[in-house]
Symmetry: C2
Subunit: 216 residues, 2 copies
Amino acid sequence: MRKNSRIVLALDETDEKKALRVVDEVGDLVDAIKINWPLVLSSGPEMITELARRSPVICDFKVADIPNTVRLIAEQAFRRGASGLIVHAFTGSDSLKAAVQAADGKDIFVVTEMSHPGGQEFTASLAERFAAMAVESGARGVIAPATRPERIARIRQAVGDLLILSPGVGAQGGSASAAIANGADHVIVGRAIYGAEQPREAAESIAREIASLRGC
Amino acid sequence: MRKNSRIVLALDETDEKKALRVVDEVGDLVDAIKINWPLVLSSGPEMITELARRSPVICDFKVADIPNTVRLIAEQAFRRGASGLIVHAFTGSDSLKAAVQAADGKDIFVVTEMSHPGGQEFTASLAERFAAMAVESGARGVIAPATRPERIARIRQAVGDLLILSPGVGAQGGSASAAIANGADHVIVGRAIYGAEQPREAAESIAREIASLRGC
């Protein structure tokens, strides 16, 4: 995964045309595009391939199934052109290993903690175990919320040099610079870019904020 | 959801033609067809609509995301013709409620325990809490493994008159009659039907096993 602006665009649009328009506008500014099931259900799986022509695509499918189904989902996502796939760890080590094996060198990212209130009910207290499982399984990185930068710092200790991608920047209240300062490699930004009147300017502004932090 | 043969066909084929052939053969014998993401990724979301013309479709998407994404996935699955949707509870009560609200009277089923070894790491010990969350959220039913019929009996106590659907019958070693005797409303059968040389005979044989148990 490239690491230039350190921004991953969360393309949470379900309108295919709008989605492509945003990507045409900011695709070169972001390190990857993250898409989720709603876009696949509205536009079809060909959308993965279409977007992958413009930018690396991370399929945020939050896969949480038995090993054989995980394998099939991973195989198909990568066959369609994805560079990365986001999976859950709570379905166990065997399911996680099935994802890493099926990725065959491509990137698996493991959810540690989630940013919504319900994320506190079960996943928050297990976040560091999930992070350790990511390391053991050979995953490429983890997902940890930018809305809780102190948690990113803890997760960083648990994952060593694995990548940390942090959603929740912008509309959900997280700060890109706080996330990066606490150890995130990439921030995941959605509405603050695709919902902006000038998506390119919005992306550039966040990229500048991150670059200034690094003293570039 | 109809309740005749008490069989739900797990259509774990990723080959669209084979999938449709099996459904044409046994669609009238089963109470519903359960499909998963691999078929959507290989054939496209139109497959939901195509299958729903033949039999009620349960989308086994094991949704595990923040409430807004859960809502979008549910809306799109039902818009495509699904009658039911399978979701996880471990992402919290708010995500579960978002699914039930988006279903708008259609069926949400909540995973309690999973049948693979990794299911013992986190979900098994939480199964009864997940079952209670299914009741509180207004879900239509739960998923509990036929490979552990004694667990079905415990889950039955927790869910009252909610439906229990039990996967793992046949190829994975679970018995249809043991699952039903312990409180399952439907058994979910995959390879034992679609992988059989005579899928219709295989389905009829399981239906007879279940019917004989009920003294019909």
